[in-house]
C-alpha cells in the first residue's frame, strides 16, 4: 500500500503552486476545476479546485454556511454551477458516486428496515417492485456487515440512533460499488465514541474498497488522525492539499484574507481567525496524520 503522505504531497492546490501530478501515478478519481456556484445572487463557491485519488480520505472543512453541502451537491450533479468543471474518472453513472446526505429524517413508525434501505441502494432507481431474491438479500446483509451493522438489519431506520443510521446510510451508499463516497457532516450530532467509530470505519473503507472518500465537517478534529488531505473552505474559496500543508498560518491567512494563527498546543492545533478562536485540535505531526488505522 502506498503511503498517503508520499503521494498526496505534490498534489492539490495547497497554495498558488497549482496542481502537479507526479509522473506515472494513476489519474485522480475526481478533479474539480475552477468550480463557481451562485446561489441567490451570491457566489457561494468561487474558483474551487482540488483532486481526489482512489483510496484517499479527504476532509471538506468549513464552518456553517461555508458551502460544504453546496460543493458536495455540485459534485453529485444536483447543484447547477456557474463556472468550472467536475470530472469523474471513467464512466459516470448513478452508481459511481455514493452519497450520504446530512439528514435523513424518517419517522420511527415507518416500516422501512435497515435492510430495506440498503436494498434500495442496490437497485432503488430501477422501475418495478423488485421481487425478493436471496442474492439481493445476501448482498444487503454483506453490505451491512461491511459497516458493522448486520445486527441492525431488521431494525426500523427511523428508530436507529445517529451513529447507527450513519452506518446504514454508508451501507446504502456503498451498494452501487461507487468509486467516490461523499458524506455530508456525518459526524454532526454523534457522541465521541460514535464519531471515532465512524471515522475509523471510513478510513477502513478507503483501504478495503479502494474508494475515495470526501467527508464534510465543521470540526476537523476527529478526522485528523485518518485524513490524507483536506479541502478547506472559507469565504467561498478553497485551499486544498496535504493536511500539514493547508492547516498552516500562511495558507489559511491567505484563504481567509486576514491573519490566521494556527497554534500547536499539547500536540493539538487551534485555528484562530481574527477575534474568533476555532478549536481544530490536531496531532498535526505529519506522521500521525499518515498513520492508518490508528486507534483514536
Amino acid at each position: 500500500m502506498r503511503s498517503p503522505v508520499g503521494t498526496t504531497l505534490r498534489r492539490g492546490r495547497a497554495s498558488d503552486e497549482g496542481p502537479a501530478l507526479p509522473e506515472g501515478s494513476p489519474p485522480p478519481v475526481l478533479v474539480v476545476e475552477g468550480l463557481t456556484v451562485t446561489l441567490g445572487g451570491r457566489e457561494v463557491l468561487k474558483d474551487v479546485s482540488f483532486n481526489l485519488h482512489a483510496g484517499e480520505l479527504a476532509g471538506l472543512i468549513g464552518s456553517n454556511g461555508a458551502g460544504k453541502t453546496t460543493l458536495l451537491r455540485a459534485v453529485l450533479g444536483l447543484q447547477g454551477t456557474a463556472a468550472g468543471t467536475v470530472t469523474l474518472s471513467g464512466r459516470r453513472d448513478h452508481g459511481s458516486l455514493g452519497y450520504v446526505p446530512q439528514k435523513v429524517s424518517l419517522d420511527p413508525d415507518l416500516p422501512v428496515r435497515a435492510r430495506d434501505l440498503v436494498a434500495l441502494g442496490i437497485d432503488g432507481q430501477r422501475l418495478g417492485v423488485g421481487l425478493h431474491s436471496s442474492s439481493r438479500r445476501a448482498r444487503a446483509e454483506e453490505l451491512l456487515s461491511s459497516v458493522g451493522a448486520l445486527h441492525l438489519a431488521d431494525a426500523r431506520v427511523g428508530a436507529l440512533s445517529g451513529g447507527e443510521q450513519q452506518r446504514v446510510l454508508i451501507a446504502h451508499a456503498l451498494a452501487s460499488k461507487p468509486r467516490l463516497l461523499l458524506l455530508d457532516e456525518p459526524l454532526a450530532n454523534l457522541d465521541l465514541r460514535s464519531t471515532q467509530e465512524t471515522v475509523s470505519l471510513l478510513a477502513g473503507l478507503t483501504r478495503s474498497h479502494g474508494v475515495a472518500v470526501l467527508v464534510s465537517t465543521h470540526d476537523i478534529n476527529p478526522l485528523l488522525p485518518f485524513m490524507h488531505c483536506v479541502v478547506y473552505l472559507a469565504g467561498g474559496r478553497a485551499a486544498s492539499g496535504r493536511t500539514a500543508e493547508v492547516v498552516r498560518s500562511d495558507v489559511l491567512s491567505r484563504l481567509y484574507g486576514q491573519h490566521v494563527d494556527v497554534l500547536h498546543a499539547h500536540g493539538r492545533v487551534i485555528v484562530s481567525v481574527g477575534d474568533e478562536h476555532r478549536e481544530s485540535g490536531c496531532e498535526l505531526a505529519p506522521d500521525d496524520c499518515a498513520e492508518e488505522g490508528q486507534p483514536a
Binding site: L78, D93, P101, D109, L110, R113, L117, G124, H151, H172
Partner: protein, 333 residues
Amino acid sequence: MSVLHAVFAPGFFTSGPVLAAVLIGGVVALVSAPAGFLTVMRSHSFAGHAFSEVTATGGSAAYLVGVGPLLGYVVAALAGAGAMGALGVERHKSRDLVAGVVLGATLGLTALFLYLTTTSQSTSGAAVTVLFGSLFAVSSSDWPTVVALGGAALALVGVGWRPLLLSSVSPELAAARGVRLRLVESAYLAAVALAVALASMTVGAILSTALLVGPAAAALRFARTPARACAWAAAIGLVAVWGGIVLAYDSYDWPPSQQGWPVSFFVVFLVLATYLASYLFGRHRDPAHRDPAHRDPAHRDPAHRDPAHRDPAHRDPAHRDPAHRDPAHRGEA
C-alpha cells in the same frame, strides 16, 4: 345459517346494487392501500385533503352539467394533481400558503355548483352524494371504468415502486441515484388522484381522505416492511368497505326512519375502529431491536456480525406475528 342471516340480511347476495357496491368498494380499497401507504410515507396527508376538496368541486360540477359524478371526480382530481405537480408539493411552506388560498376558493365553487344544481334541478340529493357518497347509488355500469382506473393507479404504483419508496425515505438519496424526482412525484400524485376520485364514489369527497390514509396509518402498526404495510392496508380497507356495506344493508331495519344508515358512516367508522385497534394490538415499533442488549458493544464484535451468531429471537416467527404482544416487549416501545 341463522348466524349468517343475522349478519347478511336476506337478499344481500342477490341485490344488484349490493354486488356492484361490493365490487367497486373492493377495487377502491385495493387502490387506496398503496396510494395511502405512500401518502403516509411522504407525510403528504395534506395532498389527500387537497384532493378530497378538489374532487368535491368536480363532483358538484358534474351534477350541474349533468354528467356522471365519477367523471367529475376523476377530471378534477387529475387537474389537481397537475396543479400540485406544477407547484411542487415538496416545498412545504409555499404549498401551505397556496393551499389555503386555492382550496378555499375550491370549496366556494363546490358551494356554488351545489346551490345552482339544487335550485335549478330540484335534486336535493346531489350535495349528500358528492360530499358524503352513496355506494349503493353507484351506477352499476360504472364498474368497468372503476376497474380500469383502479388498475391504472395500481400499475403506476407498481412500475414506480422502488423510486417511489426511495424518494419517500429521502429525496436526496433518490436524486443522488439519478431518480428524477419530478417524474416520480407526478406518478405518485396521479395514483393518489385516481385513488381519491374512486374513494369519493364510495364514501364521498369529504370522507375520501379517511379511506386513503386511515387503513395505511393502521397498517404501520402491524407491518414491518413496506410491502406488508400495503397488504395490511388493503386488508383493513377491504374489511372496512365490505363491513360497511353489510352493516348499511342491515341498517334498513334500524331506527329512526327504516331507510337505512349511510354506508359512508359505517366505512369510516370501521376505519377508525381498526386504527384504534392498531394502537391496542399492533406491534408499536420494533421492540426486539430496541432491546438494550442489542446495543451491547459485544454485538459490534466481528464474531457477532456473522448471521449465524445472531440472536435466534430475530428470526423467531413470533416476532413477526402481529398478535405477538409480549408485555415485556411492549414496555420497550
